[in-house]
């Protein structure tokens, strides 16, 4: 087999893998503050993409559509937090797993009926012409994914480190009770994390849609792989999700090339189950000491 083709497959796979990493990063944001994740995150990606498409069709330029989409994502994230997560967290139960699945199902059905069941193209001003870098063809569209992913992750990490609100976020992540005693409202911080997570999901939708098209089921495969990335990397390592995301993207691109496209999902799922068996806290996760 030609090394150039393998390289090509690996690079475009890895760029795609950055989208998984971005969605997985959204899981980490909410897991840090509340030890919960939104199981309907894929539907959030999808409805935000549809909403952004509507904005574009209404004539909004790209630079105005993106913030609009992010805002919508944040709002939907807040809806999930209020309706699905807060009560369960107050009761210290794991009801949020079921409730976030349910809210996702509602979003799915709403999208099916509002925007239709068909896949639609997502117009973008960024060109899809390949450019030649180091012997590999990459499109500007694919590069825009990388730029967008690193930009938002960088911004959020800066926010967490440099602003007072961000420090409050870190404080709640480190110790919820201690943060509460210092006068930080953990409820508001959890809301903030769900808002941010929603925005991150929306951006993932906006970045990936021009490549994959927009449809109600666009995120169902995406989300499984994002889950795999989050669990394999560990739910507390932002650096880990990027590495694992790119690795998984490259791996599945090669798998679908050699085994057939039906097996595309398999490497991620097998990787996940293997990681669970060998390192339950994730490859980059920290083991916790049990205390009684």
């Amino acid at each position: 087999m030609n090394a150039a083709i393998i390289g090509q497959m690996a690079v475009s796979g890895a760029l795609m893998g950055l989208v998984y990493a971005l969605i997985a990063y959204g899981f980490q944001l909410t897991f840090a503050t509340s030890k919960s994740i939104n199981f309907g995150q894929g539907e959030l990606v999808m409805v935000s993409a549809f909403f952004s498409l509507t904005l574009t069709n209404l004539g909004f330029p790209y630079w105005a559509m993106v913030p609009g989409g992010l805002l919508f994502g944040a709002l939907m994230g807040l809806v999930v937090e209020r309706a699905g997560v807060r009560l369960a967290l107050e009761q210290k139960s794991e009801g949020w797993i079921l409730l976030s699945i349910i809210i996702g199902l509602f979003f799915f059905s709403a999208a099916e009926n509002i925007w239709g069941r068909d896949d639609r193209p997502f117009p973008t001003p960024i060109s899809a012409d390949p450019i030649h870098i180091l012997g590999v063809d990459v499109t500007r569209l694919e590069l825009s994914v990388a730029v967008g992913v690193f930009a938002i992750m960088g911004l959020i990490e800066l926010f967490k480190r440099r602003t007072l609100l961000g420090k409050a976020f870190e404080a709640v992540s480190a110790d919820r009770d201690a943060a509460e005693l210092m006068g930080i409202s953990s409820t508001r911080t959890v809301m903030l994390s769900y808002g941010l997570s929603g925005s991150v999901a929306a951006l993932a939708g906006i970045l990936v849609s021009p490549i994959t098209t927009v449809g109600p089921t666009m995120a169902s495969a995406l989300i499984l792989k994002a889950f795999s990335v989050a669990v394999v990397a560990g739910l507390d390592s932002g650096f880990g999700v990027v590495l694992v995301g790119m690795f998984l993207g490259a791996l599945e691109s090669l798998a679908s090339f050699y085994l057939g496209s039906g097996w595309r999902e398999a490497p991620g799922l097998i990787l996940l189950i293997l990681a669970l068996a060998l390192r339950p806290n994730g490859v980059f996760g920290k083991a916790t000491i049990r205390k009684v």
């Binding site: 897991f31 409730l99 889950f227 795999s228």
Partner: protein
């Protein structure tokens, strides 16, 4: 007895009624629905084992339905075998694959577990789709219903077969869940650490429960295959999984009846959605119910505003939607979502949970009388307190990164004594206890119990070796009664193998166990509260119950981790008396305590720790006067030659 009769009677009436339906009604459509009801009943009973008893969100159950269906289908089409081998194969496929998935997945909790099961389900759909040579892929697999012992199964006969299987599954599960197994399943949901420390293998029980539930999923799959006689991978996806969860949650978790009610709802749902008129009636009823419950909850202040209002809003959306939308079938998923949302938020115990409360009020059937307590001298014979070395720690170390929590500890605990372990906060007492009981693996050093090296790093195996402990932060099984808490830990009574338990032939040992558990409850003064849930006991009673539960292990060594912490003075006095009673039975005790009066009153020997090392050892009086101990607790004594040395010490 009356209670049992009522329950059994209700079961008998329902099953008899269901069995006679084909004789009275000849509507093939209705018969089809009833057959499906039986199949989904088995499926949901299986799902309830993980979702209800283990308390984990299991998203792989639909995969076991599919794998079981394909297994049965392939046994018939490829191997040409009959109904019985096909159903057996379906069950075994569920059991084995369920066990294989559970081995890695059940090391996880909560979200990671749900993710792992979700991934398994996706993987199995992929496999069914892609292994075209075997399964026919997306084209599907057609099969015809094989004969059973030479009889062709007409729809009524097949229906009866499904009903008989449901009844058998029902009976076996009822026996299992009422036994020590079922109690263990519930206990490990409340506190996995405590089940391990009580010698009930947490992990093994979880895997067994998951495999069992999956086996039922496989069996239901086999019946599903023979019912529809056509299989497609797309039938077993996430959508169906959501509906199954709806069934279990709506029906009521931890309840066979709940699974039955849930199955009924699932079977009737498509019919409900196909007629707009019918849908409007039911959504209106749902809205009225949510409104009534919400208002009642708000007025009586039993529910939070969100819990009362959210279901009303969700049901209101259903009603408004039902009036606006032309075709309710298009909004199927949104309708499921709103219904499920209302139930999860507003009726977390499900229909059966709600009904059970209601019926309990209506009939007020007393609990079956408990046996007389067993004789303590026979069940827990007095051991000789010969003062020989029971537990020997040699140069024990446990470091956490750079923190030397325990740093070179050598100590001998003599048989029949109460050995105190004291020291200031952070001196390493709890770490020592956690190393002895197997929660932590020692960094270096050895531990020997009666000259035999203790297993390290496994609560379960240390418990099996004869060490029992209590917990500083209570680790009771809150949802179980005081009696059941003790029963879970009880050693040496449950001997009957699983098949006997399943067939309900293990009742006699259950009575023996109850008698022994009651004797232990009597020892700590809780006999009259045996049937109260642990979470409803007073704080003092909970501390006492922890000791009774540890005693149920009939241990050689009992470790009491701050048994008087947070107790009011009268309770402390009682606690001292209980510990003395246990001591009189010759059981060796390690006592960690902050109350010096308790230590002085009880202990034969006291070891004082500071900074992970021993600073003094001896009788309570010797230790109290030891200068290093005084220093560790009160700080450096004032040095006369230093300026300001005569000032009082800071508090």
């Amino acid at each position: 007895m009356k209670r049992i009769l009522l329950l059994r009677g209700a079961e008998l009436i329902v099953f008899a009624f269901l069995a006679t339906i084909p004789l009275l009604v000849v509507n093939p459509y209705a018969l089809g629905l009833l057959t499906l009801l039986a199949i989904y009943g088995i499926l949901l009973i299986g799902l309830d084992v993980t979702v209800g008893y283990l308390g984990q969100v299991n998203l792989a159950h639909v995969a076991f339905l599919g794998l079981g269906a394909y297994a049965a289908g392939l046994v018939v089409t490829r191997l040409g075998l009959g109904m019985v081998p096909a159903l057996l194969a379906a069950t075994v496929v569920g059991l084995v694959l369920g066990g294989l998935l559970a081995l890695p997945a059940l090391r996880l909790e909560g979200p990671q577990f749900a993710l792992a099961t979700l991934s398994f389900a996706a993987l199995s759909t992929t496999a069914l789709n892609e292994l075209e040579g075997l399964t026919g892929g997306a084209q599907g697999l057609s099969l015809s219903r094989p004969t059973l012992f030479g009889h062709t199964l007409t729809p009524p006969l097949f229906y009866w077969l499904c009903m008989v299987l449901l009844a058998v599954v029902w009976m076996l599960m009822r026996n299992l869940l009422a036994s020590q197994w079922g109690r263990a399943f519930e206990a490990l949901r409340d506190s996995p650490i405590a089940t391990d420390a009580m010698g009930v293998g947490t992990y093994a029980h979880k895997v067994a429960a998951f495999a069992l539930g999956s086996a039922l999923g496989g069996l239901a799959g086999g019946l599903y295959a023979f019912n529809f006689q056509y299989l497609q991978p797309q039938s077993f996806t996430y959508d169906l999984m959501i509906i199954l969860l709806l069934g279990v949650v709506l029906g009521g978790r931890k309840s066979l009846w709940g699974a039955f009610v849930g199955a009924t709802v699932i079977v009737l749902l498509p019919n409900l959605l196909s007629s707009r008129h019918l849908f409007q009636i039911f959504s209106g009823l749902g809205f009225a119910g949510a409104l009534a419950a919400g208002v009642r909850g708000l007025v009586k202040k039993t529910t939070r505003p969100f819990q009362a209002l959210a279901p009303v809003v969700a049901m209101g959306l259903l009603v408004v939607g039902g009036l606006l939308v032309e075709n309710t079938e298009d909004w199927r998923k949104a309708i499921f979502a709103l219904m499920l949302f209302s139930v999860v938020v507003g009726l977390p115990e499900g229909i059966m949970g709600f009904l059970a409360l209601f019926l309990a009020k209506l009939f007020r059937v007393p609990h079956a009388p408990l046996p007389e307590p067993a004789d303590l001298d026979t069940m827990l014979p007095v051991r000789p307190a010969d003062g020989s070395a029971l537990l020997v720690l040699d140069d024990l170390k446990r470091h956490f990164g750079g923190v030397k929590a325990v740093d070179g500890l050598s100590m001998t605990v003599r048989a029949g004594t109460i050995h105190g372990l004291i020291g200031p906060n952070g001196s390493g007492k709890s770490t020592v206890v956690n190393v002895i009981s197997g929660l932590y693996t020692p960094t270096a050093g050895t531990l020997q119990l009666r000259g035999v090296t203790l297993p390290s790093g496994s609560l379960y195996r240390v418990a099996q070796a004869g060490v029992a402990r209590t917990f500083q932060n209570l680790q009771l099984f809150g949802e179980l009664t005081a009696l059941e808490n003790v029963l879970v830990a009880l050693k040496g009574v449950y001997r009957n193998p699983l098949p006997m338990v399943l067939l309900g032939l293990a009742r006699r040992e259950e009575r023996t166990a109850q008698a022994e558990a009651l004797a232990l409850l009597e020892l700590i003064g809780l006999r009259d509260q045996a049937l109260v849930k642990a979470k409803d006991l007073t704080y003092g009673a909970q501390r006492f119950l922890e000791i009774a539960r540890a005693l149920a292990r009939k241990p050689d060594l009992l470790i009491l981790d701050e048994p008087a912490a947070g107790l009011a003075h009268p309770d402390v006095l009682q606690q001292i008396e209980f510990i003395q009673r246990i001591h009189q039975r010759g059981i060796t005790i390690i006592l960690i305590e902050h109350h010096m009066d308790v230590v002085s009153e009880l202990c034969d020997t006291v070891t004082v720790l500071d900074g992970g090392r021993i600073i003094a050892e001896g009788t309570p009086d010797e230790v109290k006067r030891h200068p290093k101990v005084v220093e560790a607790y009160l700080g450096q004594p004032p040095q006369p030659e230093l300026p300001g040395g005569t000032e009082p010490l800071p508090a």
